[in-house]
Structure formats: C-alpha cells, structure tokens
C-alpha cells in the first residue's frame, strides 16, 4: 500500500468527488483523499504530501496550489503537469476536459498517465453534464417567459393561445430576434406601464 500513488482530489461537490474517486479506483490502486473545503487547503495538502493533486480547472483555489508547487522547487520542476506539453497530447486533453493536475513531487510520466486518463474521462462527463444543465435551465426559463407573454396577449387581445403564439413568432421574425427575447421585452414594457 505504501507503494500506491497518493492522490488528493480537491472538489467541493460530494457527488462529483465520488465519481472522480470511483473513476480513479477503476484505473488502478491509488491512495485517494478528497478535500472539499477551500479553507486551510494549503495546510491540508502539505500535511498529506501527495504525489498528485487533481482540481477542476475552473476552481479559483488553483492559485493557492501554484504557491505550493513553487515552494517545492521554483525552476526545476514543472508546476502543472500539462505545462510539460507532453507529446501525446495529454496536456491539451486535460485542459480541454477541464482538469488540472499538480505534481507535488517528481513522478514517472507513465504512472501519471493512468491517473490523468481516468481523471480526463470523468471531467469530460462533468463538462457535458454542466453544458446540458445550463441548456435545460435556459430552455425552462425561456418557456416560462413565453408562457407569461402569451397569457398577456391572450388577455389583452382576446385571442386563443395559438394565435397569441403566432403573433409573438411573427414579431420575432420581423425584428430578427428570438421569440424569448420578444416575450421578455413585452413583459418588461407591460410591467413599466402598469
């Protein structure tokens, strides 16, 4: 067990952390620890002295990790793994998948590769989920706005729902805008006038 690579995963979301840990476990036998709190991050990492730290590329606490990596040797050692620009494109894949890996102590590239491959696969899933969630949320909000605008038109002009929608769509086409935008401006105007 003492020979197992030690990995720290910095992730506040418990479900995401569990998915990453599961992914890593499938890829090999690692000694994995999750840190979920940004408070005391540097202290916790120093105390555990891991081989690798994995963190979401969007996490602001990355800047704290930069400092730790610096302390372990400012010039000799690559700070972030992908800065190495490994020829197999692993670095670029990691950046695109949204994961950054910090190698706190020197590590053989071959051992790091299996960790990163597993992390990249999981982070790609998150990225897809994040995009889908944002899209779904936007679509839902837009539907609500359109429904409200439709209701206002139906009431004001004594129209059927289909006719009200047709009117909105025509206005949108005439103005070269999206139906949701026209609906939003209608709601704003009405709220200003009433």
């Amino acid at each position: 067990m003492s020979n197992a690579l030690s990995i720290i995963v910095v992730e506040a979301d418990r479900d995401r952390a569990r998915l990453i840990v599961d992914g890593l476990r499938e890829a090999g036998s690692f000694d994995i620890h999750v840190i979920s709190e940004p408070t005391g991050l540097a202290r916790q990492i120093k105390a555990r002295a891991p081989d690798v730290v994995l963190i979401d590329i969007e996490n602001p606490s990355r800047d704290t990790l930069e400092e730790l990596a610096l302390a372990s040797g400012p010039q000799e050692r690559p700070v972030a793994m992908f800065v190495d620009r490994s020829p197999d494109g692993l670095s670029t894949a990691a950046v695109e998948a949204g994961v950054s890996a910090y190698v706190v102590d020197g590590l053989q590239p071959a051992r790091l590769k299996s960790v990163l491959d597993a992390a990249i696969a999981r982070f790609r899933v998150f990225q897809r989920m994040r995009t889908e969630l944002a899209e779904t949320k936007r679509a839902l909000e837009e539907r609500k706005v359109i429904d409200r605008a439709k209701g206002m038109i139906m009431k004001a002009r004594q129209m059927s729902e289909d006719d009200a929608y047709a009117l909105l769509r025509k206005a949108a086409m005439d103005q070269n805008k999206r139906v949701a935008e026209v609906a939003q401006s209608l709601i704003t105007s009405v709220s200003l006038l009433s």
Binding site: P38, T39, G40, A42, I57, E58, N59, P60, S61, R62, D63, T64, L65, E66, E67, A69, L70, P74, Q75, P78, V79, A80, F82, V83, D84, R85, T92, V95, S100
Partner: protein
C-alpha cells in the same frame, strides 16, 4: 483591414476596465476588432488559456510575464507585454481584530503614511504576520515584500505571505486564516462591506506609480501578428483615455457591473474608479487621488525599467543572478511595439524607454514627441531610487 474577432482573457476585477471599455464603447470596433472577452476565475487558468492559445491576449499581473522570462510561473512558454493596463489600485486591509489593535497603537488610518502604518501593523500583530495575496507573482506580493523588508521584517521568518484567491479573501480573513491582505478592487471594498476587515493603506503609499496589470501575449505572437497587435494597443490606449475622464466613471461602473463581466453592483466598482474608498465597516471614508490610473502620465507605456525592477526583485528573493535577470526581464515589456503602434495618433509618448523608478517627488514634464507629457509622481515610501543601469 478585415474585421477580426480576438479572444482575450481577463480576471473579473475593476482594473480589467480598459478591455471591457474598449469592447463596449466601440474603441475596438474603430480598429475593426471585436474583443471576445473571456473571464477566468484564477490567474493560473488565465495563464494556461494564454499559453495554450485559447486566448491571444490577456489581462495579467505585471510580474507574471516577467517571471516567465526567468523560467518561473509555470507557463511553459514566455510572455511579452504590449502595454500597461493600469497603475496602482490595490489596497492593504486587516482583520477587524487587528484594526482595533492598530487603533490602540494610536494609528489613525490616515491612509498616506506607509512607514507609520507598517510599524503600527507589525507591532499590533503577533509575528509572524499572515498576509494573503492573489498570486505568488503579483505586484501585491512585490509591494508587500518591498515594504515589510524595508521596515526590517523580512519574509519568510517575520512575515508569512500566502496565496488566497481574491474572491475568497473575505472568507479567509473572517475564518482567521490570514491577519491581513493585499488585494485589487473590488475585493478590499467587499471585505469592508461584509464587515470582516478595514483598509489600512492603498498600495500607492508604498510605490506611487506601480505598474499593476498589463496586456500580455505569447512572446512569438506579435512577430506573426504585428498589425493586429498594433490595432489592439491603439484600442486599449483610447479606452484608457476615455476612462481618465471623470465623467466616464458612472458609465464605466455600469458597463463593468454586467453579468458578463464583474457581476457586482456598480456602486462598489465606482469606489475604485473615483478613489473614494470606504475603509471601515462603520463607513469611514478616504479620498485617494490617482487610486487607479489608466492613462495620465503615460500610464500605458510599458517602461523597460518597470520590468527590470520586477525581475531584479524576483531574482534577489530567489537567489538568481541579478544581472542575467535584469537583461531577461527588461525585454519582456515591449516599449518598441507600443511606440510603433501609437505613431501617428494623439498619444504623446516619452522619448526614453528606461527611467529611474522612484525618482519623481512631484508631477514632472519630460522629453516627449509633442512636448506635452508630464510624468506623475513616482516614489517609493522609503525614498529609494532604482537605477536601471545598476544591475549589481
């Protein structure tokens, strides 16, 4: 000249104003440019975005590109600086508890005396003082090292300077992780607003003309995109000139408060733009003229001596050869490209590209092309003068 969409990265801070204004007020469009502005939640990510080509230019801490030329900062490639985006604009703040002790020392938070404030701070704290900065390679860190070292408190023994992301600075101070911080606006004002800290000094009390943020590109980029680099420099210069007009402040604060940019109330952004800061949770006010300069005194000019000062500070601290560092650092700030880009515009630029740093007590006219240029006061709190020809 065809229209170009240029991806540009920024960290959501008040001093990203020249980029936001260039895009929103049409200065980029005048150069047939659209700045596709992409926010980054950390400086490490912004550095990676630039290094990996996801953006072609970036708002950046002035010491970061210099550090890349010294083989540091983990970029894996070197950066150059096309212009200085802002001068000054950081604040030093302390926890509420420490503020009370400093007041007990008889210090009046006068906001203009770095020596008195430093002594009060150091004697009020139980050493070592823990101070948060946004990034290891930042003007924040450089100024703190300079200031505390000159007062006889050298890091890391007497002072512990550590990295805390700006958005977490208020949390870190209320959790007792740090005793003080040096941070760019609006994060100092936000700590005050949340009632967890008071502001002790503006950074300009340490160095009155410190290059804060710069416009950075990959080192080889301007060689391959000379015309594009020049258009970008001009757009940013015009944005800076617009920002220097006090009547632009309200609109600038409104533009930046948008969700796409800082996503914060304009009232809090306006404090940094006007220099009217609220320094305590009880609402004490201080007016700081020139708190954040974008234009006056050739603020945008990337002086090679500024880069050299940064390089020599980093070199001294890390035990590198100062002469080698000076030569490598100096060429990072591309005053040649800046000069070339602004030829034929109304910009009046200095005749020299190196100057003594810290040698101007008052605003001083200098040799320039049109003969109308004055440089703003440039002094260190301890009245040291940095001579760029001295690299020993």
């Amino acid at each position: 000249m065809t229209h170009t969409v240029l991806p540009v990265g920024f960290v959501p801070l008040v001093d990203a104003a020249p980029l936001i204004v260039a895009q929103e007020m049409g200065f980029a469009a005048e150069e047939k440019l659209t700045l596709d502005l992409r926010p980054a939640p950390s400086w490490s990510l912004l550095r990676d975005m630039l290094a990996f080509g996801q953006v072609d230019a970036a708002h950046m801490l002035s010491p970061l590109p210099v550090a890349t030329a010294l083989g540091m900062a983990g970029a894996g490639c070197e950066f150059s600086v096309l212009s200085v985006l802002s001068i000054n604009g950081n604040v030093i703040g302390v926890s509420t508890e420490l503020a009370a002790k400093i007041t007990d020392q008889g210090h009046g938070f006068t906001f203009d005396d770095a020596r008195a404030a430093g002594h009060a701070l150091l004697s009020a704290s139980n050493a070592p003082l823990r101070i948060g900065v946004p990034f290891p390679f930042s003007m924040h860190a450089e100024l703190l090292y300079y200031w505390l070292n000159a007062l006889g408190f050298a890091a890391p023994n007497a002072v512990d300077i550590r990295t805390v992301p700006p958005s977490l600075m208020a949390d870190a101070i209320s959790a007792g992780e740090i005793d003080a911080f040096c941070v760019g606006e609006p994060w100092g004002s936000i700590a005050v607003e949340q009632g967890v800290g008071s502001l002790l000094l503006p950074s300009q009390a340490i160095w009155s003309f410190a290059p804060e943020k710069v416009l950075a590109v990959r080192r080889d980029w301007p060689e391959e995109n000379a015309a594009l680099a020049a258009r970008l420099i001009r757009a940013i210069w015009r944005a800076g000139r617009w920002l220097a007009d006090p009547s632009s402040r309200l609109l600038a604060a409104e533009l930046m408060s948008s969700r796409r940019y800082l996503d914060l109330p304009p009232e809090i952004l306006e404090r940094a733009l006007s220099g009217n800061l609220t320094i305590t949770p009880q609402g004490r006010q201080r007016a700081v003229p020139g708190f954040l300069e974008f234009h006056n005194g050739a603020a945008g000019f990337p002086w090679r001596s500024q880069a050299q000062w940064i390089a020599q500070q980093i070199a001294s601290r890390n035990g590198f050869d100062r002469k080698t560092a000076a030569a490598a650092g100096r060429q990072v700030f591309r005053s040649d490209l800046y000069r070339e880009a602004l030829k034929g515009t109304q910009a009046d630029l200095p005749g020299a590209s190196l100057k003594f740093e810290g040698a101007l007590e008052v605003e001083t006219p200098v040799a320039s092309k049109a003969g109308t240029l004055s440089l703003l006061p440039n002094r260190f709190f301890d009245r040291q003068v940095f001579d760029p020809s001295d690299t020993s």
